[in-house]
């Protein structure tokens, strides 16, 4: 009962066979080997699986792969060209915002979607935008600093 799906992920077209109930997260990780999108609660509570779907941040664990036909998906692997860093990725490194790193891909993609919407946020707005992404290592401070610093870099 698998169905053929054409998915555009990080600008590349992929043909996959997937049963209708399979999630985007599962297809990204298991079929496409894109394990930069992380897996944890599977109930849209923690945010580690955040990807961009047509530019908006979504929890890939509760999006069906079949809903993504003909839409554009960006995962952490596709945020910057190979060998390059997006301003957000560089800022996360520079600000010391990475510890275990498991929440970081989702955190960066949530921030990316938010900065598209609001390129000049306050720190409080950034914290509000990231409130759906749990991090247990950092206390969020250096993450907020990184997003603020990336926002400045992206504006200039």
């Amino acid at each position: 009962m698998s169905m053929a799906l054409t998915l555009t992920v990080n600008g590349e077209t992929h043909q996959v066979l997937a049963e209708p109930h399979r999630t985007l997260l599962d297809v990204l990780r298991a079929d496409l080997g894109l394990t930069g999108t992380k897996e944890n609660c599977l109930e849209a509570e923690c945010g580690v699986c955040t990807v961009l779907l047509d530019g908006l941040a979504v929890n890939a664990c509760i999006v069906l792969a079949a809903q993504c036909r003909g839409r554009s998906i960006v995962t952490i692997e596709g945020l910057a060209a190979p060998g390059e860093m997006h301003a957000l990725q560089q800022a996360f490194i520079d600000q010391g915002a990475v510890q275990c790193g498991y929440c970081i891909p989702g955190m960066i993609l949530s921030a990316k979607a938010y900065l598209e919407e609001n390129p000049e946020p306050t720190e409080t707005e950034v914290r509000e935008a990231l409130a759906g992404n749990l991090c247990r290592c950092t206390g969020y401070q250096k993450i907020a600093d990184a997003v603020m610093s990336a926002a400045r870099a992206m504006r200039s």
Binding site: E77, A80, I93, Q99, C100, G101, Y102
Partner: protein, 758 residues
């Protein structure tokens, strides 16, 4: 202080680029071709006789490759201090969530479906729901056969008590007689989960030689190797544990979690098997922090000198001892606090109940004991009319004084921490507005011992490989250790590559636990450089035609400064490869034993703190008089880190540790009802989000340890200790009610305010 080039600088961690680009591989990401997926059937009963398990329906489901129960695995009892655990429940289940059977199938979906097709008949028994019930006269035993279990001989066990650790100093009765006032308080704390974002995960595969390789996100690969050897009944050389990457641990990934299920299912099926926990399983059946009851009786003179303290702390350790006996021991040192108290009688109990086996969580016992001790310090100060800061300064331990078990304390930076944190928070204006108040708390903690080995190899291009058995769990401890290596070897951090945590090929390490990794691996690196230096200087002396005594290391070279000559490490490595098998050194370290007075302790598995750290926290908060809701304005930490190896990541430890501690202080609680967890999901188990936390300000105090690399002390666990106490003290300061149970929810505060009004 010596000038350093690499160490002490806020350099970016070595694994950052892989983590931000999604290429870093964690255990949860690891897979093998043809791999099966394992799932666990867990008991829904907290306490029951296991009458019958019928797996035949499940085994017939297409795609199911095996279903195993206690009958299919070696009949082995394992465990740390007490060998009281089995892989599956045998004829009795002891907590809701205990594994009863496991399935391996071609997909996780099929494996999960098969769990529902396993028929289990339970005969429910009355569960022991808490410590009070476990200690009641005539209480049934969680382990009827406890006397037959193998256990550390040092433990004091008695029925449902799997250890009673005790410290006795002086004569408490006389101490209370000398007191002008005696204060007695009781505190309780709830269980909280480590909350790592990566579930526990393992992939196991057996090869034709009978060796099993397990890729796991454990903090302790060598302990897992030993435990698996015991459970699987094979020699430890037949067990290889590799840690790919770890998405947070905080103590929750110390003990065997899913590795044994993966290995047993893989052995049965002849296929690679992956097992990963669900969030529900994490919250009902992992190694969360022990709930505690603490009773403290402290005698003081009118002018604020502590004369005696009697303290008892009971931990609910759950259905198995696990870390409990050790954590109960550490608790007694924490009950003394960083104070000079001449007469002490302190006891820590680990008590069996029908709950999950609570375990080690960042500074195990620290927050529970500190919440009690530091709350009581403020209550006493208030009653005596002394400023809480002054009361602490009057009683804190100082350089050269004794700890509770007689260890001589050195590098005591506590007074500096207290003064700096008080100054930063504006302590002299403690109640700046109605409903607003400031609190402070202080504490001490250990840098755990245990040995570490490293191999350090100089490559023919001049780069250096650091091979360590320690796992990087997110703290950047291995970046810190590599900074030590780069510093001593005279190379850049960028010249170093780290290979870590593979029990087959990396040297032994006691593991990423107890704030020890950067400390111990860093010191092992120093030892390795001393040995490499010897090898390098022999080669260089010959090459440069100078005396070995004229040589030094620097700029990636061996330098003969007076002669104006130098040889690069690359050159010397090539020379060694051509003539002597290459440059490699084995460096080792074990913290020297900390002397203590053995007559003061009983049942104690952790009698002294190695290279202790000292710290003080302060918070400024407001309490809504109507709703009891707490708003945090500022939070300041002053921590004596000995020497700041990498300030950015030390701040990261402080900010993260405080965040976790504020979760325990304000919102986190695994809620039990009749032995079952009610909130096993991340909506109802409330960890702080980015919006819930204030900015956390870090002040790094540096009183160098005599033992640590360049004077460093352990830094990872301490920030997690004081947040509950500091919040309780600030709430009391703001609105005059003292909350003695964690978490300090708005509801509790509002109720207390309401009671006071009536």
């Amino acid at each position: 202080m010596t000038e350093t080039r690499v160490l002490g600088h806020s350099l970016p961690r070595m694994d950052a680029a892989g983590k931000v680009s999604g290429t870093a591989v964690y255990a949860a990401d690891f897979s093998l071709p043809g791999m099966l997926y394992g799932a666990l059937l867990r008991s829904r009963e907290p306490h029951a006789r296991l009458v019958r398990i019928d797996v035949s329906r499940a085994a017939r489901i297409p795609g199911v490759r095996t279903v195993i129960t206690a009958l299919d695995v070696p009949d082995v009892r394992y465990g740390g201090a007490v060998k009281d655990e089995t892989v599956f429940a045998r004829d009795r289940v002891r907590f809701a969530g205990q594994p009863v059977a496991a399935v391996a199938a071609t997909s996780l979906e099929i494996a999960t479906e098969a769990l529902a097709a396993i028929d289990v008949v339970y005969q429910a028994l009355p569960p022991i729901l808490d410590v009070a019930a476990a200690l009641a006269p005539g209480a049934p035993l969680v382990h009827e056969d406890w006397t037959s279990y193998t256990a550390l001989p040092i433990l004091h066990r008695d029925g449902n008590v799997c250890n009673r650790a005790r410290i006795v100093v002086g004569d408490v009765e006389r101490g209370f007689e000398e007191a002008d006032e005696i204060f007695e308080h009781r505190f309780t704390t709830a269980s909280v989960h480590q909350g790592y974002t990566e579930p526990r995960a393992a992939v196991a595969q057996w090869d034709s030689s009978g060796q099993v390789t397990v890729w796991s996100n454990t903090q302790l690969p060598f302990e897992i190797q030993a435990t698996l050897s015991e459970i699987l009944q094979v020699s430890s050389s037949k067990v290889r544990v590799i840690v790919p990457g770890v998405g947070g641990g905080f103590g929750g990934k110390l003990r065997v979690g899913v590795e044994h299920f993966a290995a047993l299912l893989a052995r049965k099926t002849g296929r690679a098997v992956k097992v990963m926990t669900t969030t529900e399983d994490e919250l009902r059946a992992a190694y969360a922090r022990q709930p505690a009851i603490v009773e403290l009786k402290t005698g003081v003179t009118r002018d604020g000198r502590i004369t005696a303290r009697e303290g008892r702390l009971w931990f609910d350790t759950g259905a198995f001892a696990g870390s409990g006996p050790g954590v109960a021991s550490v608790a007694t040192l924490m009950l003394a606090g960083p104070y000079r108290i001449p007469n002490l009688r302190l006891e820590g109990y680990a008590v069996y109940t029908n709950k999950t086996n609570f375990g080690s969580f960042r500074a195990p016992s620290g927050p529970q004991a500190n919440f009690a001790v530091e709350s009581q310090m403020d209550a006493i100060a208030d009653a005596l009319g002394i400023d809480p800061l002054d009361f602490r300064l009057k009683n804190i331990v100082r350089e050269g004084e004794e700890g509770p078990t007689g260890q001589v304390l050195s590098a005591v930076g506590l007074e500096e921490c207290l003064l700096k944190v008080a100054d930063a928070i504006g302590w002299r204006d403690r109640r700046p507005a109605p409903g607003r108040g400031k609190g402070l708390a202080c504490g001490w903690w250990t840098t755990t011992g245990g040995s570490s080995g490293v191999y350090v190899k100089v490559n023919p291009d001049g780069t250096v490989a650091l091979n360590t058995g320690a796992a990087e769990i997110g703290t950047a401890a291995l970046t810190g250790a590599a900074q030590v290596l780069a510093e001593d070897l005279g190379v850049r951090l960028a010249d170093i590559n780290v290979v870590s945590a593979d029990t087959l090929s990396t040297p032994f390490d006691f593991g990423a636990q107890g704030s020890r990794t950067a400390f111990a691996v860093g010191n092992a690196c120093r030892a390795a450089v001393a040995e490499l230096k010897r090898q390098l200087f022999v080669l260089a002396a010959k090459q440069l035609g100078v005396d070995e005594s004229a040589l030094s290391l620097g700029e990636g070279c061996v330098i003969a400064a007076a002669e104006g000559k130098r040889a690069t490490l690359a050159e010397l490595a090539r020379l060694s490869q051509a003539s002597g098998g290459g440059l490699i050194a084995h460096g080792t370290f074990i913290a020297p034993p900390t002397a203590y007075d053995a007559k003061r302790v009983e049942g104690h598995v952790y009698p002294a703190f190695h290279s202790p750290s000292f710290h003080a926290h302060a918070v400024d908060l407001s309490v809504d008089a109507e709703t009891g809701e707490i708003t945090l304005h500022r939070y300041v930490v002053a921590q004596d880190v000995g020497f700041a190896m990498n300030p950015t990541y030390i701040e990261g430890q402080i900010e993260g540790g405080v965040a976790q501690g504020l979760g325990q202080a304000l919102s986190e609680e695994i809620v039990y009802e009749e032995g079952r967890v009610l909130n096993a999901n991340l909506t109802d188990y409330k960890m702080p989000t980015a919006l819930d936390l204030p900015r956390i300000e870090s002040i790094l105090v540096q009183h160098p340890s005599l033992v640590g690399p360049y004077g460093a002390k352990g830094v990872g666990e301490p920030p997690n200790i004081e947040p509950p106490a500091v919040v309780a003290n600030a709430v009391a300061s703001a609105v005059g009610v003292r909350i003695t149970s964690l978490p300090i929810t708005a509801e509790k505060v509002a109720l207390a305010l309401g009671e006071r009004a009536t």
